[in-house]
């Protein structure tokens, strides 16, 4: 009986703790929005962060996009050829990437590469009293450090997802057209006819924008909330990758359900 009561108490404490933390994260998000003026008035601060979180993620995004597209080309051809529709390979590759794989895989990669770096950087700034020093110099760290990183992530994520999709289509073209020999004209023309800008491309961009907000919000919050120790920063970095990845997958389902209703 005591054991059950203890278990329930622990469960209750865990749930209450999670609700508190969600509340803190929401307040933190509001503060970021409130102090976002600096990020746009002094846009060079945001551009600098875009270099760190966006440009420095290019290698992993480009290479992953290329290989995912190549695999899609091989697997797609193998399936389509059974139904005599191998010319539709371009449509399959493009729709898979633009609607789903582009935003989702780019989001997961962005969370691992840039999200973890943002958390570690802010966490270490806190641990080494750099954020305290900034506050004592009458400079708000949320306006000066957090908001530019947040907006840089939000702007970078859709661009990275678009680049991922473009590289994926190119990978699918290399495998499907150049290696296997699918007709090049059919590959491109069917893709052009089947992919709708609003239904497919724009919805993909909206998805990647939402993922960008979620990932960067989690990354900056975990960094700012990290205990100022080596263990604390390491734990926060891990939490960023795990939580952001799970949110990307959950949000993808929700957005897909809202956007694509059996069209």
């Amino acid at each position: 009986m005591h054991r059950v009561a203890g278990l329930l108490r622990r469960l209750g404490a865990h749930v209450t703790g999670m609700i508190w933390r969600l509340g803190f994260a929401t307040r933190f998000f509001m503060l970021i929005l409130k102090h976002s003026g600096t990020s746009f008035r002094r846009f060079h601060l945001t551009v600098r962060e875009m270099y760190f979180s966006g440009v420095q993620s290019l290698i992993i995004i480009v290479v992953s996009g290329l290989f995912v597209g190549m695999v899609l080309g091989l697997q797609g051809y193998d399936t389509l050829v059974r139904y005599g529709s191998s010319e539709a390979l371009g449509v399959l590759v493009a729709l898979s990437l633009v609607r789903e794989l582009g935003p989702v895989v780019a989001g997961l990669l962005f969370a691992s590469r840039a999200g973890s770096a943002i958390t570690a950087e802010i966490g270490l700034m806190k641990a080494t009293e750099q954020l305290d020093a900034m506050e004592m110099m009458a400079v708000d760290p949320i306006a000066r450090v957090v908001a530019p990183r947040f907006w840089a992530g939000v702007i970078s994520m859709p661009l990275l997802a678009a680049l991922f999709s473009a590289m994926g289509v190119f990978g699918g073209y290399l495998v499907g057209v150049r290696m296997i020999g699918v007709d090049e004209g059919s590959f491109w023309s069917q893709m052009e006819a089947a992919v709708d800008f609003e239904e497919d491309v724009l919805n993909g961009v909206i998805k990647s924008f939402v993922f960008g907000v979620a990932i960067t919000w989690i990354a900056v919050f975990e960094g700012y909330d990290a205990p100022p120790t080596a263990e604390g920063v390491s734990g926060a970095t891990t939490r960023t990758v795990v939580t952001a990845s799970l949110w990307v997958l959950a949000l993808d389902f929700i957005l897909t359900a809202l956007m694509f209703r059996g069209n």
Partner: protein, 287 residues
């Protein structure tokens, strides 16, 4: 044997209530502060006169740094008032607190330099954030500040390329960037070699006098602090237990102060942290 807490054996210094004085830049009035149930400061009273260098000394964990954070407005007391330049810090709204902080400078224990900026950019940081000065003027001002701490030649270095003493001096140059009226130093001598320690000590005194500022130094480095300060407050377990000029402190017969100043092993500060009887701990399993 279990040791009673130090505060139970040390008689708190019974100060008279502090009258508000126009000669004080900082006034800490009956301040109590704690985290959750743990009291860190208990009814602290102290004044820092304008233009003086005042040290707050005591053992690690006695509440010195917390007191500095209260003066800087980073934390707010549960009771009492902290006044800086006549303004009640703990009741100021955020924007006014930030305005007040522009007149303060703080040197953190390990410098807290921005690691992604060069020495030059660290010192220029506040100037760029709070003023509209052209870059050419900022360049001249930064060079003057770095020259004052003897590191003009290290302007292009990154913080990772500096020794501990140099990093502390750069942080000092950064903290005086806007010529503050109040300087707060958190353990400025910690972890420094004897030469750097002497240099930092002399810089603190010289900058205070040349800037016409007021300085508060939190430290447990007795020898260095007593050479450069005008007045000392001694704290233990969240209360002020003694105060006086360096000469008065050196001559103090208060047992805690005497033990602290002369670094004696024997005295009211026990070596052992309070614990159960040794036999209880060693034979606990058998029992």
């Amino acid at each position: 044997m279990c040791c009673p807490p130090i505060c139970a054996r040390i008689r708190p210094f019974n100060f008279a209530p502090h009258p508000v004085s126009i000669g004080n830049l900082v006034e800490v009035d009956n301040v109590t502060f704690g985290y959750d149930q743990r009291a860190v400061l208990r009814q602290i009273n102290l004044n820092v006169p304008k233009g003086k260098v005042v040290a707050i000394m005591g053992l690690s964990g006695c509440g010195k740094t917390t007191l500095l954070r209260l003066i800087g407005g980073s934390v707010r007391p549960q009771q009492g008032e902290v006044r800086v330049a006549g303004k009640v810090v703990n009741k100021l709204p955020a924007d006014e607190l930030y305005l007040l902080r522009r007149k303060m400078g703080m040197l953190f224990q390990f410098g807290a330099l921005f690691t992604d900026m060069s020495v030059f950019d660290n010192v220029a940081f506040q100037m760029r954030e709070h003023t509209n000065l052209p870059e050419s003027v900022i360049n001249d001002l930064v060079m003057m500040k770095l020259d004052a701490v003897g590191l003009r030649g290290a302007a292009h270095f990154m913080p990772s390329e500096l020794s501990g003493g140099m990093a502390r001096r750069v942080a000092l140059a950064r903290s005086i960037a806007l010529d503050p009226k109040l300087m707060l130093y958190d353990e400025p001598f910690a972890g420094l070699d004897p030469i750097s320690l002497g240099v930092i000590g002399q810089l603190i005194r010289r900058l205070n006098d040349s800037l016409g500022a007021t300085s508060i130094i939190v430290t447990h480095d007795v020898a260095e602090a007593l050479q450069i300060v005008d007045f000392v407050y001694f704290m233990s377990e969240g209360v002020v237990i003694a105060r006086g000029t360096p000469d008065e402190i050196r001559a103090s017969e208060e047992t805690f102060v005497h033990q602290f100043v002369y670094g004696e092993a024997d005295g009211p500060v026990a070596f052992d942290y309070p614990a159960r009887d040794l036999r209880e701990d060693m034979f606990a399993e058998a029992q």
